[in-house]
Amino acid sequence: MDNCLAPTRGTAMAPIEGAPGSLKASNEYKDKLMTMDGAEVLAGTVTRDETAILDAWLAGLRAGASLQSGRIREAELQTQAKSVLAQFKDALAEGGPDADGEAYASLRETLAEISRSRAIQGFTPTDTANFVFALKEPIFEALRRAIGSDTPALAAGIVAAGKVLDQLGLHTTEVFLASREEVIGRQGQEIAELSTPVVRLWDGILALPLIGTLDSARTGVVMENLLQAIVDEEAEIAIIDITGVPTVDTLVAQHLLKTVAAARLMGADCIVSGIRPQIAQTMVHLGVELNVVSKATLADAFAVALKQTGRRVVRQQAVPAVERR
């Protein structure tokens, strides 16, 4: 064996000379592979066999579900595959099979970009990860072509390839989930902000329609919004509507009473509305007493509020005729 040709462990792989067609060159290459560890075998094979791997990979992707769903065009898939494989080749040559390493930064970025765009296009995480995992088979095939029957070298190469591709596949899944979580987090914040509006019904009359679960955190937001609105609108009466609160237990009742007490301190009277029959029965059994004016519907509460502020709603005797042309 020619020792000069065998690269030492850990050095960057130079492209291997000798066309695959030449038997002598091919044998020399195989000899050389015997002295390398899995990472070097892998880097060498990917560099040498890039075109064949790309073709096989694309064939695999074409057969897979991604293209057939029609969400992505073949040209786009080809471009992505080409740039990923090129970066993979460079990263392998530079940093070995450690996908968390510095050499893989640009490849990870590319994959993250692809993963994000897949998430938007409506692919499942499985589809996205399969994009990377589909690269395994072509690389294993290429390793087999390059190494032939040398089982230990082949196994080492396959282990290295499996490890690095698994890491990259998981990376796409992680990015996929992270982008989903971002959306969920944003929606959560939006719901928290949107779900506690204070509505001005009339001069000095506010309504606070509560929807959903009333926990301590939300009660804080609700109270803050209501008290500020009482100041801003110089409100005399605040109607708290609980039609949209599914369960009123002692904690919810306690939060309600605290809100009412705080509003009273600010000089506004409170009316609780939207108490449904089943809620009323349950509250009686619980033993909760709401020492506050309460009404079954928001309309009733509004009528009371108008009355208390010295207003009256009257229907005009003659309804004016609609003008006709």
């Binding site: 369960t247 237990d249 002692t250 306690q254 089943q278 619980l286 033993g287």
Partner: protein, 134 residues
């Protein structure tokens, strides 16, 4: 008495209390409880789940659909490994609380259920079982 369905839910956080409520409501609908009875058992479950969390330091809820003859019912068992209750009589008294609540939860849950059973050993934990029959 036959148990036709059993599931266990964890009570470890405030979100779990909400999940317990939702699950109990689904099961109550499943056995055909009316709207008032649904609301009662859901509210009782909410009280007991929060007790499990706040005073028992978290635990589990076992929900069972039970059948006795032609009657169907929903039975809920709340279990924790917390400090336990020394004086159950006192704990069931309205307005009594060791925390900052209204002191109505435990007694209220008893009034909202058809069956109520509580056993507690100080230092070992507490188990509360309630049932609502159709």
């Amino acid at each position: 008495m036959k148990v036709s369905k059993t599931e266990t839910l964890p009570v470890r956080s405030g979100d779990d209390v909400v999940r317990v409520r939702q699950r109990v409501r689904t099961l109550a609908v499943e056995i055909g409880l009316g709207l008032v009875d649904q609301t009662k058992i859901v509210t009782a479950a909410s009280e007991l789940a929060r007790n499990t969390l706040d005073y028992g330091g978290g635990g589990d809820v076992r929900a069972e659909i039970v059948q006795a003859g032609i009657r169907k019912g929903l039975r809920l068992t709340f279990e924790d490994r917390g400090p336990g209750i020394a004086d159950i009589e006192q704990a069931l008294t309205d307005r009594f609380t060791t925390g900052r609540g209204m002191g109505l939860g435990l007694g209220g849950a008893k009034r909202l259920s058809n069956e109520f059973h509580i056993e507690s050993t100080p230092g070992t934990g507490t188990r509360v079982t309630i049932a609502r029959w159709k």
